[in-house]
């Protein structure tokens, strides 16, 4: 992809699109905006492909990290703008919205993630999911859960470490 191969990029698209879109949709919640942000993220992947460093993790991790950042940025700027977010034209996208996840393998991975999230304490799980799916900062999470800041930072870390150990993730 880094060499400008459009065929390679289209394969990459098929591999990651449902995860990129699903993640962004979960964070920004509005399907029209989710499509816009997912699209920007994927074009960004194309544009910055040469910055991808395989020594620092897999390509999918890199792509999803980019997408998550963009989704969170969108949510935060919407918050900052007091929700006077411009609603983009593609309202029709809601109609073609497809709930079905196409990859069978994803379902197995999904079960594994759910099982592993079950090994976290409630506070760890809340801290991690509010930040990752909700796009909240750790300060907001601490506020919402009425927990001191240092505690929330630690719980997030403990939660991620537990998730990593359970999943047997290779760095």
């Amino acid at each position: 992809v880094a060499r400008g191969d459009e065929g390679a990029f289209s394969s990459l698209y098929d591999l990651v699109a449902s995860r990129v879109y699903g993640l962004v949709l979960r964070v920004v919640r509005d399907p029209a905006q989710a499509e816009e942000v997912a699209q920007e993220a994927l074009v960004d992947v194309w544009r910055r492909a040469s910055a991808f460093d395989p020594d620092r993790g897999s390509a999918i991790t890199w792509v999803l990290t980019l997408a998550h950042r963009r989704a969170v940025d969108r949510v935060r700027s919407a918050q900052a703008a007091g929700d006077r977010e411009r609603k983009v034209a593609a309202r029709a996208a809601v109609a073609e919205f497809d709930q079905v996840t196409d990859e069978v393998s994803t379902r197995l991975e999904q079960q594994q993630v759910r099982r592993c999230m079950g090994t976290l304490t409630e506070l760890q799980r809340e801290a991690v999911t509010m930040a990752y799916y909700g796009g909240y900062t750790y300060r907001q999470v601490a506020d919402l859960l009425a927990v001191p800041l240092p505690t929330i930072k630690t719980r997030m870390r403990d939660g991620l470490v537990r998730l990593r150990d359970c999943l047997g993730v290779a760095g």
Partner: protein
């Protein structure tokens, strides 16, 4: 802003590792953590591991995108130039040798982009002191800094000082702050350049430059902002090697 050794372990910044991985930090904290990470190898490893675990949370929310998104993304990539070392865009044949060196350096700079915390902080401080007559530019600068897609990059300047650029792609504008730039003889001037397929002047700054943020209003088509020393009054095209080039990303 010399991140060598001394601040290798800062417990406050280090504790941000999980919020950083979860994108649950604000922009200033993110930059601070990335600076810390640049000198903390253990952090780089842990970030990579925790990140691989965090992105698995996506498995639980994957949803097929609207079918039309595929063609829209493909169409957009056909119109989007790639950046970085793999770009391989051949310079126009008529370009002078010096220009080619410029481009090469630009790509090296893109590859080695370093983010600095100093930039944003210095900019805000300076902005607090702006005069009324400059209010308009200040507002434009503030807009760039507040843009949701604003990115900070910084590079050291040959001969001393540091150039930090805040770039907003959505606004098509950037702001540069030059910190501790040495004074040069009056018959010379610092000049800024937009570097892309072509090289365009981005403004002549004079021989003595303070940390006032400079608005770069026309970054369209530029991959980087460079700085060179020119005769006072400036040049149409750079006549000396750049002393820094900060990638726009």
């Amino acid at each position: 802003v010399n991140g060598n050794g001394n601040d290798t372990y800062n417990p406050d910044v280090h504790a941000l590792i999980a919020p950083y991985v979860l994108d649950a930090v604000d922009d200033i904290e993110r930059v601070a953590f990335e600076r810390h990470m640049a000198v903390c190898e253990a952090c780089q490893l842990e970030v990579a591991e925790l990140r691989s675990a965090a992105v698995r949370l996506v498995d639980d929310v994957a949803v097929g995108p609207p079918p039309a998104m595929r063609e829209r993304v493909m169409a957009a990539t056909r119109q989007t130039r790639q950046v970085g070392p793999g770009q391989g865009v051949a310079p126009a044949r008529a370009e002078a040798g010096a220009t080619r060196t410029w481009r090469r350096r630009t790509f090296l700079a893109v590859a080695a982009a370093i983010v600095a915390l100093g930039a944003a902080a210095a900019t805000f401080t300076v902005m607090g002191n702006r005069l009324d007559q400059e209010r308009q530019e200040t507002a434009a600068v503030a807009e760039v800094l507040a843009a949701p897609d604003a990115q900070v990059s910084a590079e050291d300047i040959q001969g001393g000082g540091r150039a930090s650029v805040v770039f907003s792609e959505s606004q098509g504008q950037a702001v540069i702050v030059l910190d501790q730039l040495p004074e040069i003889p009056e018959e010379q001037a610092y000049q800024l350049w937009y570097i892309g397929d072509e090289i365009r002047s981005a403004g002549v700054l004079g021989s003595s430059v303070d940390t006032t943020p400079v608005l770069l209003g026309d970054v369209q088509g530029a991959d980087a902002i460079a700085l060179s020393v020119e005769p006072s009054g400036g040049s149409d095209q750079p006549t000396t090697e750049p002393i820094t080039a900060v990638p726009l990303q």
